[in-house]
Structure formats: structure tokens, C-alpha cells
């Protein structure tokens, strides 16, 4: 679901084909029939933006029919934990959970807590939303007490199992059909297949991609999938899991070692100015003194990072240089930055292998922002649209950007390709793979390592001797990497990887595991979860023992974090007593002879802690993890069916309509995610959705995605004739029914209109898109690839120009997988006429400049409803 694996990850899809040949059943749930659907046994068409409804229906099916893997659920999930009496569900509050604050549009989560812990988790989550704090939980769960009240009979009405059951009781097959357009028998086929193929002997894998993440409720989509997989016992077991298929060679790595505003390496939070004023406040907010689990060692990870950053200058006396770190005051994400560029607040912008003029949502805002900078540095091997907005972007045609009046100074710095430098990518299963350098980069092309090292060197040279406090951090920075390569000025990437791995500073030896890290400044390590990649002084990421010469887990190919573990939480592959759930699915188990955990993979558990271990009453940290707490990074050691904290928009996923939808939410008065992040301004208008009037002006649903033949914004594919010829033109896919309704002709031109702009494309009429029956009306969906722009061998309008900015509150990702639009035959107007054309639509839709999209639409709060 939410993944077109055969098209976006074709070589990964070989394993699906392999599984299919061995008897697996493949189900594809998607808004349109794709090359993945073509290979699936069953294709289920679903309305874009309605996945929580169908998945909630599956949860309801599981709980109603008691199809859950009860032993697993009791042992490894929080099903039996009692929830606070104060908690009120969306079912009681018309689509809101208890604690909603209409001023900040966020929740006070104290009533979501486990029973007896209401006081510990109070306060608004506004700051957490603005800083996308949910991302910190990629490596560990949010704080939660270990001592909780439970009812192992699962009968207490306040236990998670019953709360969950009530929450999803209305997600019946009829309701699923009504919301998603999925016929009941197809839906039940999915439920039966999924549950039948889960349990002791069998596991089911769930695959998703950005079809799930790029929504205003995206994180909760994934949560819903995780709840099902926990209920069915599919987590931590071979052939199970929730697989995120990521779309860039090192997008996982760029989150682990983040180029993100709100994170430091290893998911340590960037400090927030008021919550983390001191080192102690910062560290304690991560490690939560008294909490159980591995996260209690966070101080060692934090100090080791600062030692890697500042070297000898980081001392206990100066809090390891913590004071040199910049502080967040709110949302500094990429879309906030774009708004700030338009508003003239940002001077300079680096683009590093990224092309926001095509690849980011709301392309026009992106380009207008870039046209209002002092300077822009573009590093890319190919000329991209983000470097040429000042002379050939769409706004040149409309007159919104005039070349002679655009002040932005642009540096195009040619970048070395992947073959021209060495280093590691982290692929989608957290595996680091080292690349050897094949050739030298041509001409002025250089690696990012070269560019940033020498930029830093120049900055430090210019600041040398400065006594300003602001310059202390950069001058104290450990910035002395050995050089090598043909020019003699290329930083040695292996040395950087060693710094990331970390050292025992007393001996100079490379660390083998993050358990060796200490909070006293005697160890370093630039990313604690990567510690071990240079274990024993060997570049483990460079290991290339042929797959055919090792076990099916292939542990000696590359290196996966943490600790070269290939399946996370694999303690759950054994029963509470440490025995495999079945021989067929044996993966990691307790070896009673040698008294240790063993198996095909590195056990995700302390190696010699027996299943029978029970912590002493006052234990904290690792000691407090029980012998059957399979989810060791969670505060209570359990997989969460219900999330008492850590999520901005609710402890359980709830169906909300997308920010732009032609349909009224059939379940609740609350139409869309009430905590979604919006930029409510005239240059980011949102198409009206019910209960607002005029949604019929943009009557159709559109969704976008990739083609096999192209790569994201096209910089690496539209420039290559062999790829460009395979998909040479921007097109739009419509059903024959919609073609008839709008007079669209196959291979003719059409244009698609939203409140942001209108773009044109050639029409493909295809049965792969089917109109969906939603309640008593027909909903048409159209599909667009988003690869085109105005540079390259083949060019065309950009689908992302259509997309407005409404973000998921947990991670601040944009809702670009669903929106509403109109489609009309023929090409779009050109020049200033385009602006008038789009404005005419806005006017008819009631989108005056002072228009504000209502956030709360519950019936109790009817004033917000009808406008």
C-alpha cells in the first residue's frame, strides 16, 4: 500500500516475484492499477487519502473476529495496559481526541497517558509539532514510564485492547466501502488473506513508500499498518515487518546522519532554546532519568558526538561545547524557509543534489523564493531548473520574475558523480554500503566532501583570530581531515567514517559498539547508531562477501545499524520463553545450553539476559528491561497499539479527509487532521473542501508518483537520452469515464488546475484508473508523474506546481500524494493569461486573499463549519 514497488524499486521487487513463485499471495492496494498491480494476485483500487479507513477496517475485522495472535499481543504489545480515565476518543468528540487546544491546533496529551501517569506527560505539543519532534523517534520510542497497570484478560474497558476495539468499531466493511470505494468482498478478501497468513507458522510483510508518508496524516498511516502487524504478530519476525521503501540512494543515511534542521546525528534532537537551555536539560530530555531501556545511555552518545565535533576543545567544564550549538525556536523546515525566502528573510541558499523548482511541493513558491535571495549555490552534475529559474522558469513567462530585475546571484558548482568519489550510502534497510572511487571527477566537478571541507577551511581562515563568541564554535571545530586523491586535496572519506564510528580517546582505538561510549569525554563518535561500522579497525560497510557464499541473512555484506542487525526487535521472533514461534519462522532464540541468545541474525537483545529475567523493582535503564520485553527501545518494552505520547495528532490513527477533498468525512464532523501544519497565506491557497462551499470548482482527486523510467525531479533521468526516450513527455492519466465527462482525447492535450496554478500534459486515457463510488456519488481520480521541468532532453510542466503546502504535524512532510483539481481539454493559457485563468478559478471557489481554511469542523463547533 502506498507503494508502487515494481515501478519505483524494480530490483527490490525481484524478491516479491521470488516470493510469489514460492507461493506467496501478493495484494496491491493503490489508487490506480500500476505495474505492481499487474504482478499482484489481487488489486484493490482505493481512493487516494483514505488508507486509514481501509486499514482501520482491517483492525476492526481482526478485533471483532479475535484474529489477533493473542500470545504475541499479550507478551509484546501494550494491549493489556490501562489508559487514563480522562481519555476521550474521537468517537466521543466528533473526530477530536481529548485535550485539543483550538488556539494552537495541537493537543495537551495528559489525558492520553497510561492510567496513573497523567501528570507526567502534560502540556501542549505545539513546540513538538513545529520542530517535527516525531522524527527523533526513528531510533527509539518517546518517553513512557515502565511501571504501568495492566489487565491481562483484556476485558477491562480501559485497557488498550478494548479502547482500540471501540475506536475502530465503526470501520465496518460497509463504511470502508463508503469511504474508500473498495467493494466489500474485495476488502474482506484482503482481511482474510492477511489474517490467515499471519501467526506462528506464517508472516505477512507490509510495504509502503511515500504514497503513505506524503499526507497530512502520513505518520498515522504508517501507525495503522504497524498496529495491524503487531496485532497479527508480524513484527520482529522473518517475512514480516513494515517495510519503508525509500527513494534516494542515501535518504536513510541523510536522516540517520541528518541534513535536517531538527536533528543531530543518531536522532539526537537539535536543542530548542527554551526547553534545552543547558546541556543538562538537553541530555535529560533525551535520556529521561529513571526511564528504562537503552536510551538511558543518551548522555554518552551526546558527549561522544560533541567530542567528535569539537575534539579537545570539548571539555566537561564547557559542557562539551554544548553552548556552541544553534537553538531552534520553532519550525525551521524547508517549507517555512521557502516562505521566509519569499518574505526576504533568507540571504543565501545551498542546493546539494536537490532540485526544489521541480521536486518540492508548490514549485511556484519555490522559484519565487529563490528569486528573492542574495545568492544561491547549486551543486549538481547537470543543469537543473533550480539553477535557471531566473532565465527560463515558468514565472519568466508569466512576468512574475524578470531576469533584469532578479537580484539573486547564482553559483553553479559542478558536482562529482557517485562513481567519482568514495563513501557510503545507507540503503532502505539501514544498510551501509561502501563505494569505491572508479574515476576522477571531470573539470571543476568536486565531491561535497571537498566542497564543504574547503568551504569550512576558508571560513575558518577568514575568522582566525576572532574573539567574538559566535566564532568560537567554528574556530574550535575539529576540522583536520587527511587529504588524498589525484589532486591531493580530497578529504579521506574513510577517515570521516572512522570519526562517525568513534574512538576510545584514551587508546586511540576505534569503538566496536555504542555500548562502549562514555559520558565522561573519554570516547568520541559522530553518530552513535553507526558505531561498529569500523569495528576492529575494518571498514565493515565495504564487506562484499558474495551472497551465494553466506546465509540467507547475508550478514557479511555491508553493515546495518544498529550493530549489524538486519531485523529490528527480532527478540519477538521467539516466544516469551525464548523458543521460536515455529520451526518455519525460527530466527533468533535463547540457547539453553550456552545460556545466550543466538540465531540467524544479531539478536536485538542483551546477549546473555535470559527470557526469565525480571528486573528489580527500582531498576532503571537497561537493567529494567525484562527478559520478555522484545521492544527494547520503547520506554515500556512493548510494541504500541496505542501511543500514549510521541504523536502530535492522536494516540490512535483516525480517518481524516485530506486537506483537499471532494468528500465530507463520513465518520466525523472533523473533516481533516486538526493538528496539520498549515501556512495560511495568500500565496498558499487551499482548494475548498466540505464543509466549506465551492469544492465542486476543483471536483477531481489527483495523485502523483514516479515512473520506472525517471528519477524524482528528472535531473538524473531527463538528461539521459536512453531514459528520456522511454517516457518522453509529461502526461496525465484519466479514466475513459472522466475523458468522456470532460471531453479529453487520448494523446490530446489537457490542463490541470488547482488554486496554485495550472499545468498542461498529454492525455492517456486508460482503464487503469477507475472511477470510485463514494457514498452515492462518483469520484474521479487522475494521476500525474512529477518528473518534468524545463531543462533536459525532454521537458514539460511540473506536477508539483499543483501541490499546496499542508503538512503532517509529526514530521512536517507535505501532503503531495492527494489534492483536488479540475481538468480541462486543451493547453493551458500562457504568459500573464495563466495568472488570470488561475485567479478566475480562485474567485469562483471563494478563495479571496483574506480567505482562511477552517481547521476545526466538528459539529459542536458549527461556526467553523459553514462559511
Amino acid at each position: 500500500m502506498g507503494s508502487n514497488m515494481a515501478e519505483a524499486h524494480p530490483v527490490g521487487f525481484q524478491w516479491v516475484v521470488e516470493a510469489k513463485l514460492r507461493g506467496a499471495k501478493v495484494i496491491h492496494i493503490d489508487p490506480r492499477f500500476t505495474r505492481t498491480s499487474a504482478l499482484a494476485h489481487t488489486f484493490v483500487p482505493v481512493r487516494a487519502g483514505a488508507d486509514i479507513a481501509i486499514l482501520g477496517g482491517v483492525i476492526n475485522y481482526i478485533l471483532t473476529n479475535e484474529k489477533d495472535f493473542r500470545e504475541y499481543v499479550l507478551a509484546y504489545t501494550n494491549a493489556s495496559t490501562l489508559v487514563s480515565e480522562d481519555f476521550r476518543d474521537t468517537e466521543d468528540l466528533d473526530g477530536l481526541f481529548s485535550g485539543y487546544d483550538p488556539e494552537t491546533n495541537t493537543y495537551d496529551q495528559s489525558s492520553w497517558a497510561y492510567q496513573g501517569h497523567e501528570e507526567e506527560l502534560g502540556g501542549t505539543t505545539h513546540t513538538e509539532r513545529e520542530t517535527a519532534a516525531g522524527l527523533q523517534q526513528e531510533s527509539h520510542g518517546p518517553p513512557i514510564p515502565g511501571d504501568v497497570a495492566r489487565d491481562d484478560t483484556l476485558q477491562d474497558p480501559r485497557c488498550v485492547y478494548q479502547v482500540l476495539k471501540r475506536h475502530y468499531a465503526r470501520y465496518t466493511p460497509e463504511v470502508v466501502a463508503q469511504i474508500c470505494g473498495v467493494p466489500e468482498e474485495k476488502f474482506l478478501e484482503v482481511c482474510e488473506a492477511w489474517t490467515r497468513n499471519s501467526g506462528r507458522e506464517r508472516t505477512t510483510a507490509l510495504v509502503y513508500s511515500v504514497g503513505w508518508t506524503q499526507h497530512s496524516v502520513g505518520v498515522q498511516y504508517i501507525r495503522t499498518g504497524a498496529i495491524i502487524q503487531l496485532l497479527l504478530g508480524n513484527m520482529g519476525r522473518p517475512g514480516g515487518g513494515v517495510m519503508a521503501l525509500r527513494g534516494h540512494a542515501s535518504i536513510q543515511g541523510s536522516t540517520d546522519i541528518p541534513t535536517l534542521f531538527n536533528l543531530l546525528p543518531g536522532y539526537l534532537p537539535m536543542p530548542t532554546y527554551d526547553q534545552h537551555e543547558t546541556f543538562r536539560e538537553w541530555v535529560d530530555s533525551i535520556r529521561h532519568p529513571g526511564q528504562k531501556g537503552f536510551w538511558a545511555n543518551a548522555e554518552a552518545y551526546a558527549v561522544s558526538l560533541l567530542k567528535s565535533y569539537f575534539g579537545d576543545a570539548a571539555t566537561a567544564e564547557n559542557d562539551w561545547g554544548y553552548g556552541w550549538l544553534p537553538r531552534m525556536t520553532g519550525d525551521h523546515g524547508t517549507y517555512q524557509q521557502v516562505m521566509d525566502m519569499i518574505d526576504g528573510k533568507i540571504k543565501g541558499y545551498f542546493l546539494l543534489g536537490q532540485n526544489p523548482a521541480v521536486g518540492s511541493a508548490h514549485g511556484r513558491a519555490q522559484r519565487l523564493g529563490m528569486a528573492n535571495l542574495d545568492w544561491l549555490v547549486v551543486r549538481d552534475p547537470y543543469m537543473i531548473e533550480s539553477a535557471t529559474f531566473w532565465k527560463s522558469g515558468p514565472e519568466i513567462a508569466t512576468g512574475e520574475i524578470k531576469t533584469e530585475e532578479c537580484r539573486t546571484e547564482v553559483f553553479f558548482m559542478p558536482a562529482a558523480s557517485y562513481a567519482e568519489k568514495e563513501g557510503t550510502f545507507t540503503q532502505t534497510q539501514r544498510m551501509l554500503q561502501w563505494r569505491e572511487q572508479a574515476v576522477e571527477p571531470p573539470g571543476d566537478a568536486r565531491s561535497e566532501l571537498w566542497f564543504f571541507f574547503h568551504l569550512g577551511r576558508r571560513i575558518r581562515e577568514r575568522l582566525a583570530g576572532s574573539t567574538l563568541p559566535r566564532d568560537e564554535g567554528i574556530l574550535k571545530l575539529a576540522w583536520d581531515y587527511p587529504m588524498h586523491g589525484a589532486r591531493g586535496d580530497e578529504p579521506d572519506a574513510a577517515e570521516v567514517l572512522k570519526e562517525i564510528n568513534g574512538y576510545d580517546l584514551t587508546t586511540g582505538q576505534l569503538l566496536t559498539t555504542f555500548n562502549q561510549m562514555k559520558p565522561d569525554g573519554s570516547t568520541s563518535g559522530g553518530c552513535w547508531i553507526y558505531t561498529g561500522v569500523f569495528a576492529d579497525g575494518v571498514n565493515q560497510a565495504a564487506r562484499r562477501r558474495p551472497g551465494q557464499e553466506q546465509s540467507w541473512v547475508a550478514p557479511e555484506w555491508g553493515w546495518a545499524w544498529p550493530a549489524n542487525r538486519r531485523i529490528l526487535y527480532n527478540r519477538a521472533s521467539a516466544d516469551p520463553d525464548g523458543r521460536p514461534w515455529s520451526e518455519r519462522k525460527a530466527y533468533v532464540w535463547w540457547d539453553t545450553e550456552n545460556n545466550e541468545w543466538t540465531g540467524h541474525d544479531v539478536p536485538d537483545f542483551e546477549k546473555t539476559k535470559p527470557p526469565s529475567y525480571r528486573p528489580p523493582e527500582d531498576a532503571t535503564g537497561v537493567q529494567a528491561i525484562s527478559g520478555d520485553d522484545a521492544f527494547i527501545m520503547q520506554g515500556d518494552g512493548k510494541g504500541w497499539l496505542y501511543a500514549p505520547s510521541g504523536l502530535i495528532d492522536g494516540p490512535m490513527p483516525t480517518h481524516y479527509e485530506p486537506a483537499e477533498s471532494p468528500a465530507r468525512n463520513p465518520l466525523y464532523g472533523q473533516q481533516a487532521n486538526p493538528t496539520r501544519k498549515v501556512y495560511d497565506r495568500p500565496d498558499n491557497l487551499t482548494n475548498p473542501s466540505p464543509p466549506e462551499r465551492h469544492s465542486e470548482i476543483y471536483p477531481y482527486v489527483f495523485t502523483t508518483s514516479r515512473l520506472t523510467e525517471h528519477h524524482t525531479a528528472g535531473g538524473m533521468s531527463r538528461q539521459l537520452p536512453y531514459l528520456a526516450e522511454l517516457q518522453p513527455e509529461m502526461f496525465v492519466e484519466v479514466s475513459p469515464q472522466l475523458a468522456a465527462e470532460r471531453g479529453l482525447h487520448h494523446l490530446g492535450w489537457a490542463h490541470v488546475i488547482t488554486a496554485r496554478t495550472a499545468i498542461e500534459a498529454r492525455v492517456l486515457v486508460t482503464d487503469r484508473l477507475v472511477p470510485l463510488r463514494i457514498e452515492d456519488r462518483t469520484i474521479h481520480q487522475i494521476w500525474l508523474p512529477y518528473h518534468w521541468g524545463n531543462e533536459g532532453v525532454v521537458t514539460g510542466d511540473s506536477a508539483n506546481d499543483l501541490v499546496g503546502l499542508a503538512l503532517d504535524p509529526n514530521v512536517l512532510i507535505q501532503e503531495s500524494k492527494v489534492g483536488t483539481c479540475d481538468i480541462q481539454p486543451g493547453r493551458r493559457p500562457i504568459g500573464p493569461a495563466l495568472l488570470r485563468y488561475v485567479a478566475d478559478y480562485q474567485q469562483r471557489a471563494g478563495l479571496a486573499p483574506d480567505h482562511h481554511t477552517p481547521i476545526v469542523t466538528t459539529s459542536e463547533d458549527g461556526n467553523h463549519g459553514e462559511q
Binding site: A6, E7, P10, V11, F13, Q14, V17, L21, F33, R35, T36, S37, A38, L39, F43, P45, A177, G181, P183, E185, K186, L707, T708, E709, P721, Y722, L723, A724, E725, L726, Q727, P728, E729, F731, P736, Q737, A739, A740, L744, H745, H746, L747, G748, R762, L764, V765, T766, D767, R768, V770, P771, L772, R773, T778, V793, V794
Partner: protein, 335 residues
């Protein structure tokens, strides 16, 4: 085995004079696992330095290559087959669908309809054609067993026929049979006469416009000599394209077909595997999920030179006749 045959099952390498020839090598393309990614097309071009084939949106589903040509030695065909009756999708009323099909007369001819690929030609035949195969190709209606929409994909390639028409008619010796039993154009010999082009029963071989020479799949002859897998088969993510000894591939194909038929794929079939067919079987054969015509393949390909001996016989008789009449004529004058 007959020596130097022009039809029937033979070992073509031995027939072409190779002593102790290696086993005949070929492709088995299992379309049931093809994901239409076109890695084969790109890998072929990267290895063989084949030029791009133009940047035209053809509207034949996701096929913008159009067919095999001098500049496309692999070609992935895409066929969209709508669900038959009893669809379970809650679609708009059927009348609506019908209206769409008759109203939406695009006036746009579908694709470039390359002469070498029957797909487009087959597509244009139907009055309701929307530019994509919608309802008129063979196999798109009929047996009533399939209730779901189906999207067929198939990577087409030169068949490396046992009896290769192109080779038989080549006057320069440019086209030749390799020791692996494959058929290869030698670019250093081809003079661009073009005789081979109409001789191919599949419409595969083609002349490049700029240099006039004939080009097609070589089954990566240069790689084969070194024991390497051809570029397309090497890249294929799902092993839809399998390379190997033809005998082994045929066994594998038979087993795969049996499995699919057991699973209810009753219209699955092998194509080009039968050594008794009009070209003596193909060195590159296929497992199809529908009739060959659906994929734009001729149902009963025949090598034109099959009748060559017969024709020579007739030509010989005719020549004799002419000689005889000439003799008679001369004799008559003498009289």
C-alpha cells in the same frame, strides 16, 4: 539430421559448418513475471552503443519505443486488457463507459505504428480504439474467465530463428550464423542492401537511417564469447529474460507453463519453442499469457526461404523450358 536444411528442426550451428560447436544459446522470455521496467532496453543500448530512438509519446500504454528497430533491439510491449463482464469494481454505469468509448474519438492516430511491429497495426483495426488496445485486439474478449483488468508486458527481441530468413537472403555474408546458433549482422560487411528486411517473418531487422546498414540484436555475441550473459538478461530484475542453453531453457519453460496452467492461467502458452514451426523454432522464445497477436507477434511465422528449394526446382524447370524453347526456336529457324 539433414545437412544445410532450410526448414525443420536442426542444430543451426552444426548446419552452418561449425565443428564441435558449443551448445545453442538463446533467450527464454517469461512474460508472466515481466514488470515492464525496460531495463532490457536500456542495458542493451548501453552495452551495444545503440543510438536513442527518438522522443515520441506514442500513447501505446507505457510503450514509447513502438517496436523493434535498428535503434531498439529490445522492445517492451504493454497491453491493457479491461476487465470482462461481472467486474467487481464499483465503476460508473456501463452506459457511461460505452459512451466514453464511442464519444472519445480522438482523431489522433495511435502511435507511429512501426511497420515492424504488428501491435499498432492490430490496434488501429478497431473502430473504438482509444489509442491504447482497449477492446479489439484478439484475446481482449471471449473466454470470460478473467474478471480483473489485466496489464500484459512483454520484452520482445530478435528470435534468432533456426531458419533465419534474413540470413538466407543476405547476399554479402554480413548476416551469419554464429557458433552459438545465433544470427548476427556483421557491421563491417553489411552494405545496406536491405534484402534482409522483408525476409524477416517477425519484422525485426531494420536499417538505420543515417548509415543505411542493417542492425538488430546480436544476442551480445561479443559477451557470449567470453562466457558473459547478454546485457538485457543480466539486467532483468525479475528474470523475465533468461539466457542459457536452449535445451535447458526449453525444459524450464515447459515446467513454468505447467505450473501456470495448474494455477489457472489457461491461456498461457509458449511461443517460438516448437521446432516444427515455420522457422524451425526460435533461439529466443517466449511464454505468453495470451494469443501471440495480442502482443503483436505473428501467429504462424514462416521463413520465406522455406520454399526456396521448391522455387529453385520450379525455376530450374522454367529455365529448362526456356532453353528448350530457345532450342526449338533455333531449330525452327534452321528449318
Amino acid at each position: 539430421m539433414a545437412s544445410n536444411s532450410l526448414f525443420g528442426p536442426i542444430d543451426p550451428a552444426t548446419d552452418a559448418g561449425y565443428e564441435a560447436a558449443p551448445p545453442r544459446m538463446g533467450f527464454f522470455t517469461d512474460t508472466s513475471v515481466c514488470i515492464g521496467c525496460k531495463a532490457c532496453e536500456v542495458a542493451c543500448k548501453e552495452w551495444n552503443l545503440v543510438p536513442d530512438d527518438g522522443f515520441n509519446l506514442l500513447g501505446q500504454s507505457y510503450d514509447n519505443t513502438g517496436g523493434l528497430s535498428a535503434n531498439s533491439w529490445r522492445h517492451v510491449a504493454f497491453i491493457e486488457q479491461p476487465a470482462r463482464a461481472h467486474t467487481t469494481m464499483p465503476a460508473a454505469p456501463q452506459s457511461n463507459v460505452a459512451a466514453a468509448r464511442t464519444d472519445v474519438r480522438t482523431g489522433t492516430e495511435p502511435g507511429i505504428g512501426p511497420a515492424v511491429d504488428a501491435l499498432a497495426a492490430a490496434g488501429t483495426a478497431g473502430p473504438e480504439f482509444l489509442g491504447m488496445p482497449m477492446s479489439d485486439l484478439p484475446g481482449r474478449s471471449g473466454d470470460g474467465e478473467r474478471t480483473d483488468f489485466r496489464w500484459l508486458m512483454m520484452s520482445n527481441v530478435c528470435k534468432h530463428c533456426t531458419h533465419a530468413g534474413c540470413l538466407d537472403v543476405c547476399p554479402t555474408g554480413s548476416l551469419f550464423r554464429t557458433e552459438f546458433g545465433t544470427v548476427v549482422v556483421q557491421e563491417d560487411i553489411c552494405n545496406g542492401c536491405g534484402y534482409c528486411i522483408p525476409a524477416c517473418p517477425y519484422g525485426v531487422i531494420d536499417r538505420r537511417q543515417d548509415d543505411g546498414r542493417a542492425w538488430k540484436c546480436t544476442l551480445c555475441y561479443d559477451r557470449l564469447g567470453d562466457g558473459l550473459t547478454p546485457a538485457c538478461a543480466k539486467a532483468c530484475p525479475t528474470e523475465s529474460i533468461q539466457f542459457g542453453e536452449l535445451d535447458v531453457l526449453r525444459e524450464r519453460a515447459d515446467a513454468r507453463l505447467a505450473t501456470l496452467q495448474e494455477q489457472g492461467e489457461t491461456t498461457a502458452r509458449l511461443y517460438g519453442e516448437d521446432q516444427g514451426d515455420g522457422v524451425g523454432g526460435d533461439g529466443a522464445f517466449f511464454l505468453l499469457l495470451d494469443e501471440p497477436e495480442v502482443y503483436g507477434l505473428p501467429p504462424d511465422p514462416e521463413v520465406a526461404t522455406k520454399y526456396l528449394p521448391d522455387m529453385w526446382k520450379r525455376a530450374g524447370l522454367a529455365a529448362l523450358g526456356m532453353v528448350a524453347s530457345a532450342v526449338v526456336a533455333f531449330a525452327g529457324r534452321r528449318r
